[in-house]
């Protein structure tokens, strides 16, 4: 189990429907929190990565602007993009820059400000995150793609709309106690089932909300981590994979092959197995995505993810608590900020600082972050 690179500071802005300032100001909130958390100053940071998807706001090449605003010149900085998986790709690259010896301390900054355009416009942009020649011309969007996965899962395994509703109910319970979440109401199964259909079988509450938000992680090599932090959280395992952008190239739709591959790599690197994981953050952009993650990450056999949620095993106190911060469904999904927020949650859990969301005694945590509809997947295993 390698202990070469650690996370020594985490920060996150409140996720909101409509942030009232500029991108740079929103990012500053997450950054200042992470730097204070790490007990360092901006000058200690040797490089920064900015994780974000373009075309939601007007600033191009945000790395340069953000490095200026955060006082991170003249250190190197660049933009990394894997749509919704950008933040954890940032962790992978920051790990590499440090392990390769190029830098000692690297900041991974994620942000998205989605409220400057309409919801239909943002769906159009998400549609152009699929193949613009062969899929977008039909009017594709994220809920539709995930709905097509749900249809196959339903048909093959008798998963039901109630199972998906149970996942949203869990998310809403934890969202209600997370003061950084955008959606703070508790929902019932009935409310979820009676909501309008977005793309069958997915209904309004099966879908996460667009949000504005920022996150920041500070990574350091072993020497600097031990010096700066009393509780470094180590990167034990990393996995990453890609799939064809076109659905026509996928072997199956009742799970995500990218997550299976990324998880296998991460478990192998960490020398751990699914049952060693005490708490997990998975990419629940839609309820079906969380259900597939249970199976793809090995928490349940294929087709048996529904039993985990039916039995309440993914709540705190269950076999494998998942998204006990509300997940993307309740926290909100500011694309570039999402991966960093997931990692932050696990870091706080492993430090025992997760407050009302704490999983008692958590020692090993896992993050799974997806870009697009199973185009990219990153799996990260963290430990004390």
């Amino acid at each position: 189990m390698p202990k070469d690179v650690a996370i020594i500071g985490v920060g996150q802005s409140a996720f909101s429907r409509k942030y009232s300032g500029s991108v740079r100001e929103m990012v500053f909130e997450a950054f200042a929190e992470a730097v204070r958390d790490a007990g360092i100053t901006p000058k200690d940071i040797d490089a920064s990565l900015v994780c974000s998807a373009p075309e939601y706001d007007k600033q191009r090449s945000p790395a340069g602007l953000i490095a200026e605003y955060l006082g991170l010149n003249p250190q190197p900085t660049f933009v990394l993009e894997n749509i919704c998986a950008s933040g954890t790709s940032g962790v992978r690259v920051a790990y590499s820059l440090i392990k390769a010896g190029l830098h000692d301390i690297v900041a991974v900054i994620g942000f998205q400000k989605m409220s400057e355009i309409s919801s239909a416009e943002s769906q159009e942009r998400m549609g152009r995150g699929a193949d613009i020649m062969w899929e977008a011309p039909f009017g594709t969007m994220m809920p539709a793609y995930y709905a097509m996965h749900a249809q196959v899962h339903f048909a093959r395994y008798n998963t039901t709309e109630e199972d998906l509703a149970l996942i949203r109910v869990k998310a809403s319970k934890y969202g209600a106690i997370n003061d950084r979440a955008v959606f703070r109401k508790e929902l019932t199964v009935e409310q979820c089932l009676s909501a309008g259909v977005v793309s069958s079988p997915l209904k309004v509450y099966d879908c996460c909300a667009n949000a504005d938000g920022a996150s920041c992680l500070i990574l350091a090599n072993a020497a600097r981590a031990k010096e700066a932090s009393s509780q470094p959280v180590w990167i034990l395992g990393l996995g990453a994979a890609s799939a064809t952008m076109n659905l026509t190239g996928r072997q199956f739709l009742d799970g995500l092959q990218v997550t299976r591959l990324a998880a296998r790599q991460a478990y192998r690197m960490a020398g751990l197995s699914p049952r060693d994981v005490d708490v997990a953050e998975v990419h629940d952009c839609f309820t079906i995505a969380e259900l597939m993650a249970y199976e793809d990450l090995g928490f349940a056999e294929p087709g048996r993810g529904k039993e985990l949620i039916r039995e309440g095993q993914t709540y705190i106190g269950g076999k494998i608590p998942v998204n006990v911060d509300g997940g993307l469904l309740s926290k909100g999904h500011p694309i570039g900020a999402t991966g960093g927020s997931q990692v932050r949650t696990i870091v706080l859990q492993l430090r025992g600082e997760a407050g009302p969301m704490q999983v008692p005694g958590a020692e090993v945590g896992l993050v799974q972050n997806i870009g697009g509809v199973g185009i990219y997947s990153n799996v990260i295993i963290l430990g004390r």
Binding site: Q123, E124, M133, T140, S199, T248
Partner: protein, 141 residues
């Protein structure tokens, strides 16, 4: 040029496989096959990622396929608002799978994964051209 005519709204005008649209106008839905290694690709492409060859030929996709998955969309991205609700579908033709829309005439309750479908060419009033899938029963077989 030419590819801007494909679909409800095209985002690309230039491609080496723009002939796909000409063939569509003649009622044919085609994949490409690599002359060097024989691999068949849908979406059609100008280059073979297996053998790196760029000699491709057009081949018609099979007459009928089976529905691999679908969804009925009630909320559209910008530019597609006039079409809702519409049904997106992935259809398996054996050698290739094809993504597109299911005819809006098909009732959602009658849609079943595994059902037999046939692609037809559809010319839209604004001159755009596309294809959609219809149940095999309905086309009189």
């Amino acid at each position: 040029m030419g590819f801007e005519k494909f679909g409800r709204k095209s985002y690309t005008a230039q491609t080496k496989v723009a002939e796909f649209v000409d063939r569509l106008a003649q009622g044919e839905i085609c994949a490409t096959r690599c002359r060097s290694c024989g691999r068949i690709y849908f979406p059609p492409r100008a280059d073979c990622s297996f053998c790196l060859g760029d000699a491709m030929e057009w081949v018609k996709i099979p007459e009928t396929g089976k529905l691999a998955s679908f969804t009925r969309v009630y909320y559209a991205p910008a530019g597609f608002e006039a079409d809702v609700p519409y049904t997106l579908a992935l259809v398996n033709f054996g050698d290739v799978k094809v993504f597109g829309r299911l005819s809006s005439a098909v009732e959602e309750s009658t849609i079943k994964i595994g059902m037999d479908l046939k692609p037809i060419v559809l010319e839209m009033p604004d001159g755009q051209i596309t294809y959609e899938f219809i149940p095999v029963e309905e086309c009189g077989r």
